[in-house]
């Protein structure tokens, strides 16, 4: 119940926030541009490449959506208020995470138009598109949870956003340290990297390990966020 109340409050703030709209608009504009190129220029009836661009855009969108969520409460002192209300840290964390996640889904919804356009003019392979969306949504959950964690740790929003981008970019490229040498110890990095797990979704393949990868990191980041909040009480 408390989760719903917090989610509703944060969602309202998102819908009233110019930054969230601008970020969402840029996300849609760039992905729309790439949709145009793949369909009109390359003549493909698929969203594989568009999904890849969406994934890259998400690396920037997620920190913008999450940076405010906890850092602003720390900055303004309202965290003291939340901490003395009869609600659990986990409820605060999940409530805020859900708000960012739902707002992302709202931004993503207009892209359903691409699917309509494809089915209208061509015959795309729909299951692949659905799997692609699944991958994108799982990725979003993971990136938003990492962003929320950074927002809990950082003293202010901009530090939170920067920390998120750096962390996520590191996880994005860490795989390239190991990938070319699959028989070296560095190969372990391959499992950690985002690309490795995203690729299969983008081409329409569901892999249980990939799902576990995204969900486990999401849950871990959210759990760590509750612990960081707990630490804030102790100073």
């Amino acid at each position: 119940m408390n989760i719903v109340i917090i989610t509703r409050r944060e969602l309202t703030t998102f819908f009233l926030s110019p930054i969230a709209y601008v970020a969402g608009a840029i996300f849609l504009f760039v992905t729309g541009l790439f949709f145009y190129f793949t369909v009109a220029v390359d003549g493909q009836a698929g969203l594989g490449q568009v999904f890849s661009i969406m994934a890259v855009m998400l690396l920037l969108l997620a920190p913008i959506l999450t940076m405010r969520l906890l850092a602003a409460e720390t900055q303004s002192g309202t965290l003291e208020l939340l901490f003395t209300l009869p609600i659990r840290n986990a409820e605060i964390v999940v409530g805020k995470f859900m708000a960012a996640f739902l707002f992302f889904l709202a931004i993503l919804t207009p892209t359903a138009l691409y699917v309509f356009i494809l089915t209208w003019f061509g015959s795309p392979y729909l299951p692949a598109i659905i799997v692609g969306y699944m991958g994108l949504i799982l990725l979003a959950a993971m990136l938003l949870s990492i962003g929320l964690l950074a927002s809990a740790i950082a003293a202010n929003q901009f530090v939170a956003a920067t920390a998120t981008i750096v962390t996520v970019a590191a996880v994005w490229i860490i795989g390239s340290l190991g990938l070319p040498y699959t028989d070296t110890p560095g190969a372990g990095f391959g499992y950690l990297t985002i690309q490795e797990h995203l690729t299969y979704f983008m081409v329409g393949l569901i892999n249980v390990t990939d799902i576990i990868y995204f969900i486990s990191i999401t849950v871990a980041a959210l759990f760590l966020t509750t612990r960081v909040l707990e630490l804030r009480r102790w100073h």
Partner: protein, 308 residues
């Protein structure tokens, strides 16, 4: 209602509270008095289950703040010193949000009643970011009493307000007595004298005194002090006054004005009067000086030595 036993709090290696014990009765208004950094806010943060104690037992209505933190928080309304508010919300939205998280029902009725209680009806639709400071403080108080809590804790409720706003806030606090147990902190002494049934004077993380304001003052008034003003006095007047048997100490405040401390005997006033008349100094004023809570405070917190 509130029971604190041997409470100690460390922030890292720094000791903020040192073996503090006290209790608060139901419907009492208790004042925490002390210089900045004495431990008032820390004590309040522990009572509100914001921060856990390092050692000791703190119970609110029988619930331990550490093991039953949620139950404690349900009993308490808290206005932190920084008056944290969501500036993007209107007063009403803010109270709606707080009411929802506190599961106040029926929320609308309670909110209207609270707005009325702290005189905020006219501001209900205004964005909090646009409100003047005194009104914001009232919004904070509204949030603290919204759920009709058994205990209301107010950290420096009048800090930084103008005299009119201070009077308003004090009136609201006075209205709370009888229905709620109230704890407030301040470093304004007159506030404690006006509002509180009982005072805890805290200094350097310890309770240095605990009593009613009146009795704390009486405690300091062991002897008697008078103020004497004459038309003119010779240089040796100070010594002559000092020579009177019941006089403990004489201080020359300014020309022809003395403060005389006795060893507790009201007869001495006549002796001083006689001396002045005998010497023809021209008596202008002779009156007893009451010790104020200020004196008690300075004495107990050791500030008086510094000021000589």
């Amino acid at each position: 209602m509130i029971n604190v036993q041997n409470l100690t709090k460390y922030y890292g290696p720094k000791m903020a509270l040192n073996d503090v014990s006290f209790h608060v009765d139901r419907r009492e208004i208790l004042g925490f008095l002390g210089p900045n950094g004495a431990g008032k806010t820390t004590t309040m943060r522990i009572l509100t289950a914001f921060t856990p104690p390092s050692a000791g037992i703190v119970k609110v209505d029988g619930y331990d703040v550490f093991t039953h933190s949620l139950e404690v928080r349900r009993q308490i309304g808290y206005l932190p010193e920084s008056v944290p508010l969501y500036l993007d919300m209107t007063v009403r939205e803010y109270l709606d949000y707080a009411a929802a998280l506190r599961q106040v029902s029926p929320a609308d009725k309670r909110i209207s009643r609270t707005l009325e209680q702290v005189d905020l009806e006219a501001w209900a639709g205004t964005r909090i970011g646009k409100l003047p400071r005194g009104i914001r403080r009232r919004v904070g108080i509204a949030q603290a009493i919204l759920h009709n809590p058994a205990v209301v804790i107010l950290d420096e409720p009048t800090l930084g307000l103008d005299p009119k706003q201070i009077m308003d806030i004090r009136r609201f606090i006075r209205d709370l007595s009888g229905e709620h147990t109230v704890i407030l902190s301040t470093n304004i002494l007159s506030e404690v004298e006006q509002l509180c049934n009982r005072v805890l004077i805290i200094n350097k993380g310890r309770i240095v005194a605990e009593d009613t304001p009146a009795r704390l003052i009486a405690r300091l008034e062991g002897g008697e002090r008078i103020r004497l003003q004459t038309q003119h006095t010779p240089p040796q007047a100070l010594d002559m006054l000092q020579a009177l048997p019941p006089v403990a100490r004489v201080q020359k405040i300014q020309n022809n004005v003395f403060e005389i401390e006795f060893i507790a005997d009201s007869e001495c006033r006549t002796m001083v009067a006689e001396l002045v008349v005998q010497q023809g100094w021209g008596l202008l004023e002779l009156r007893a000086i009451d010790a104020s809570l200020e004196d008690v405070f300075l004495e107990l917190t050791g500030e008086s030595e510094k000021q000589g």
